[in-house]
Symmetry: C2
Subunit: 234 residues, 2 copies
Amino acid sequence: MKETIPKPQDTAQTKARGARIQTKSQQRRQKHKEDLRLAILDAATELFLENGYEKFSLRQVAEAVGYSPTTIYHHFQDKDELLFHVSLEGFRTFGEMLQAAYDSKENPLERLEAIGDAYIEFGLGYPVHYRLMFMQRPEMFFDGNSKKFEMPETFNDMIDSFSVLQKNVQECIDAELFQSIDSQLLSGIIWANIHGAVALCISGVGVDEGAARAINKHGHKLLIKGLQKTNPTT
Amino acid sequence: MKETIPKPQDTAQTKARGARIQTKSQQRRQKHKEDLRLAILDAATELFLENGYEKFSLRQVAEAVGYSPTTIYHHFQDKDELLFHVSLEGFRTFGEMLQAAYDSKENPLERLEAIGDAYIEFGLGYPVHYRLMFMQRPEMFFDGNSKKFEMPETFNDMIDSFSVLQKNVQECIDAELFQSIDSQLLSGIIWANIHGAVALCISGVGVDEGAARAINKHGHKLLIKGLQKTNPTT
DNA sequence: TTGACAAACTTAACACTGTTAAGTAATATA
DNA sequence: TATATTACTTAACAGTGTTAAGTTTGTCAA
């Protein structure tokens, strides 16, 4: 479990003599570097999911992959960046789930519900990720003013996926399905309802998964009903 | 700023000779202990509000009150208990605000809105406290299974105040103001809406205070509208 | 094959953290 | 004044993230 990635000297002892291929040597070096980076990410992910954010430790990650703590600093500039990339994969699936929900329905109203359901499913299915992003270290992901490390392109793609909710709300409004209301505001209201359900559940304040789903479902229903036009326009 | 509470030897050096009053000696001793406890709490509160949960340090508290770190362990069993009591005072005002909101109106529907507004005001006004309780260390306050230290009576009083929302929702339902809906579920929906608004704001994901208040206000309005009976009963 | 160079990796240390055990100083009681 | 108790400190332990300096290793050219 420890010696997943063989250290450089191990691979060299056997192959060093026949050093004919020059261009591929640095390729192999780089591949090893990438492999190690992935191994670090894997071990870190496992420890993160197992112990959560509070008990997540760089040194433990290092020990898990069988390297000294300082080695990690050659692949990630600090603990936060490692943690960021660990959670990145989780949020990629978040984005995919939202996008899939958007694509799953044609009707904007049904889509809105599907997106909400997908959101809930991610929150309840990946509570450690969700807690990190929205409860424990949100400034790591949002709050652009203090970004210590650069965001990879995949992250921005992800953020785009998050905006499917706003996009869909706008589409509902454009289709004149609702009474007159600001699009941004309505997005916020729906987001608050969904995030509230997830957050109250995964923070363990007494709302179980069933209740969270029910809050989402019926809260959504009530909101939609409240958005209905009372008297036909024009 | 450091020598707020004089240490025992300082008070004794002057008064020790005339040790006539026996019963008051331990009284004075106990008073000093309580004073120190309060001084610790004060310093801890200041540091907590200043640095937040992540950077809150026992040793810094000790230095601030001018005692060694171990002294704190004579007044609080560990860092968590100190933090708990630091936040307790904040949440006392939370409970009072909710109770005051409940008392401020006669009409259950107006009360519901008042409670929501009070909740928002606390969340936005005491973000460090709110974050600790609902986002960073909720298990310290809820999640009865793993209570390491005992809760003081004042805490239980506080928790009672939190239930004014549930109580008021029940009253609305009893007054047949809404369509048929489970009281627990509706409480959850309203709570999710309010908590969602607060949480999205104070976690810095892009919802400012004005938006949070708007989400609460209009979200509440939509929910109430959605709860209206469509056709008169009986 | 050998030597130089750069990359990879480790050791040692720093400055912190919470927490405990053991010992000292101060006070209250007899 | 002696004794017990309480208050408090010192020293240490086992951790943490992070940095500087040094060593090992792999690569490439002479």
